[in-house]
Amino acid sequence: MAITQNKRREHILACLSPAPSNERIVRTAARMAAAFDCPMTALFVRTPDFDAAPPEDQQRLRANQQLALELGAAVETTYGDDVPSLIAEYARLSGVTKIVLGRSAAARRRPFGKPPLTELLLAYAPDIDIHIIPDTRARASYRPRSARETSPRSLLLNIAKSTAILAGATALCALSDRLGFSDANLIMVYILGVVLTSVVTTHRVYALASAVISVIAFNFLFTTPRFSFSAYETGYPVTFIVMFLTAYITATLAMRYKEQASQSARIAHRTRVLFDTDQLLSKAAGRDEILHAAGNQVVKLLGRAALVFVSENSELTDALPFAAPDQPMPAYDEAAERAHAAAALAQSKPDAQAAGAFLYFPIRMGEHVYGAAGIEPGGNPPDAAEQSMLRSVLAACALALENEHNDRAKKAAAVLAESEQLRANLLRSISHDLRTPLTTIAGNASSLLSSGDSFDAATRRQLYSDIYEDSMWLVGLVENLLSATRIEEGRLTLRTSIELLGDIAEEAVAHIVPKAKDHKLSIVQEDELLLVRADAHLITQVIVNLIENAVKYTPPGSSVRVLLKCEGADAVVEVSDDGPGIPDADKARIFEKFYTGAHSVADNSRSMGLGLYLCKAIVKAHGGEITVHDNAPHGAIFRFTLPLDAALAGAALSAEGGLTRE
């Protein structure tokens, strides 16, 4: 067979059965998996009547499962009686591309029976390749028997219904007969009775019996001679046969229609639930939300309490309880439940679940186990349909978790790459820029040591003050570098607390005042009590850097003003000066790393272009924005925002309320 050009990775599904020929199917599937170098899954659909299968069948199934395991397949079991739809659904959810099954399963066809498995599979999963392995050996000895429940209660109920309808039909016939209607009317009434029986009972046998009894009753009660099983008219035997066949075939069709209607209702319900689940899961952000959405969906679906365990590094950690609607969460021992869930996950036998207060199902995608979901069995364990829906929800949940996991890994890798890049740039830049002040400090100090006595007092003083100023510059640089590493080591290192913006601004100004004796610094608080959630040190640094910049790039005597105000949901800080302003060409690039502009400031070599870049990074990490504008009539305004916390505003208000109550 030609290998498809499809880029999708192949995934082969072998259908397990207890048939002797199944071994060959497993081996063929394994060979295909080896040829495509792709994963293989062996699936057994366990129908409710399989428990009644002979022990040798069960034995053979276990042998086949063991063989599949040895050949490197993942062995799975699903539960239900709608075999083709379960296989198709499993294939869809697990991304299976090829299904391998045996002809014995393929060619089972009876008149009026269900279409063969392959045809149904094709209908359910039209885009999956189906490979049928010829079966030269004996037919499977195992044939599913009726899966219908045969409790005495339902038997009696069905018989009662059939009898009542039959009696009703007979009574109606007696009435028609009395009124002198023809035989044709009576036959129609009986056929109607049989069709009704087929609609209200759960098995075809009742319709069949009803048809037979109707014919006999018609013969006995309404044909001459009355009250005898013989009939005078020569046409009657034909009438009886036609009557029987008509009744039976109509009833069969009605019954099949009923089955299909209930099946399509079931499928519609399942589709609806899965659709909702998919939507909820795609809306959920983060692992916990996904698990919560899945847990809630399971509870909504089954009406049972659920306990979801989160798996981290193949250890089950947090337990998330989901109570059934309008019911308290059942009592459970978390440690014991965790052990049960772990046992269920570790179970190599595919169809055995560990028994605890909850029944556990794995949440997994391929090799990755994301957790286990336990549902409360209550008095009645979940039936096959429930289990199959549960598995669908859990599979969708696992898929969502896998996507989320991959996204996170991708983002982490991107952040890592970016910070590596920054570190490299930083090191290059630092090693160059540190040399200038260090040369001055070391040179000046060494001249003072060796020949300090020969300098006059003014020269010595100049050397001392140069050393002092250069070291102070280094102090500032180290502060900025420390902040830069903290920012770049991952945004999580923000140590935020609730801060009064006014306090931070005052601290920043107090820090600058001794260095800016030639400038007029002022703080204006248009709005007071601006509470923000911020890293005090980093925000102080932002304001310090902005003021330092303003001081550095404006002539002595200029004034620098720090303005605090509130705008909507943001606190705004503006640092404005009345210097020459910033050319438009620089405005766009001013926040870039190591951008120093074309300023002809005397100590341009000392400007590493780190300060504003850092300001931007810090403000961004706080969820704010930094911009630069022109001041009127001249000068620059640097402006940044910090989100005000709504909850904090409430707290602040209640505290302020305390002021008026005296």
């Binding site: 607390s497 801060e499 306090d503 009590l529 005090a536 102080t540 602040a652 505290a655 109550r661």
Partner: protein
């Protein structure tokens, strides 16, 4: 007049030299120790008036030194830390340190801290923290009456503001951490308490420090806490 004894605990020789030279030049007596163990011994034997303690010591952690010394002495301790992390300072302050200096610090800063601590010492020696009326510049608190006045005028304070003011006054010169204050006033240290603390402190300061020329009574240590300053 400055003849008080200062124990300098610092393992780095140049920094120790810088500090001792500065102290000598300003008429302080000093004793130096280079390890934590030696510092505890010196604190016991020399009975210093102030301890300058570096947090990064070769043998035991500086915070541990504070805990041991606080076992028997209430000598004011000023922590010197190269770590710019607030957490370390807060830990030291909560362990019983009175004040802190972050490296690199200027000589002026060091001397200012020493003067502030000396004022605190003088206050304690006068029994100022136990008197029923507290005075600091124009601020006066009558603990018995439960009222505070500024320049003779009664301050209209909410119960919580008054509590805060008393707490700060009783620890004049000492940096109190946010946690310490919220625990003392609210009994808890939830985030909302800290938000409220910020607001109460801001309003309290507004009532105490009217106008730009008025002396500063309360000093804000961003990220750490607050301190009542002794105003001359």
């Amino acid at each position: 007049m400055n003849k008080i004894t200062i124990l300098v605990v610092e393992d780095d020789a140049p920094v120790r030299n810088l500090i001792t030279t500065t102290l000598g030049a300003h008429d302080y007596r000093h004793v130096a120790a280079t390890t934590g163990e030696a510092a505890v011994m010196a604190a016991a034997s020399h009975n210093p008036d102030i301890v300058l303690l570096d947090l990064g010591l070769p043998d035991i952690d500086g915070v541990e030194v504070i805990r041991r010394v606080r076992g028997w002495s209430s000598v004011p301790i000023i922590v010197i830390s190269a770590r710019s992390e607030d957490a370390d300072k807060i830990e030291a302050l909560d362990a019983g340190a009175d004040d802190y200096l972050t490296k690199p610090f200027s000589v002026d800063e060091l001397l200012a801290r020493l003067r502030a601590t000396q004022r605190r010492l003088a206050l304690i020696q006068n029994g100022g923290d136990r008197q029923s009326v507290y005075t600091n510049g124009q601020l006066a608190i009558d603990y018995a009456k439960g009222c505070a006045t500024l320049a003779g005028e009664e301050l209209h304070l909410t119960p919580i503001e008054y509590k805060l003011l008393c707490l700060l006054a009783q620890n004049t010169g000492k940096v109190l951490t946010h946690k310490f204050i919220t625990k003392s006033v609210w009994g808890s240290s939830w985030e909302n308490d800290i938000a409220s603390l910020r607001v109460f402190m801001a309003t309290l300061r507004k009532k105490l420090e009217k106008g730009p020329d008025s002396p500063r009574y309360i000093q804000t240590h961003v990220g750490i806490g607050y301190r009542m300053l002794k105003v001359e």
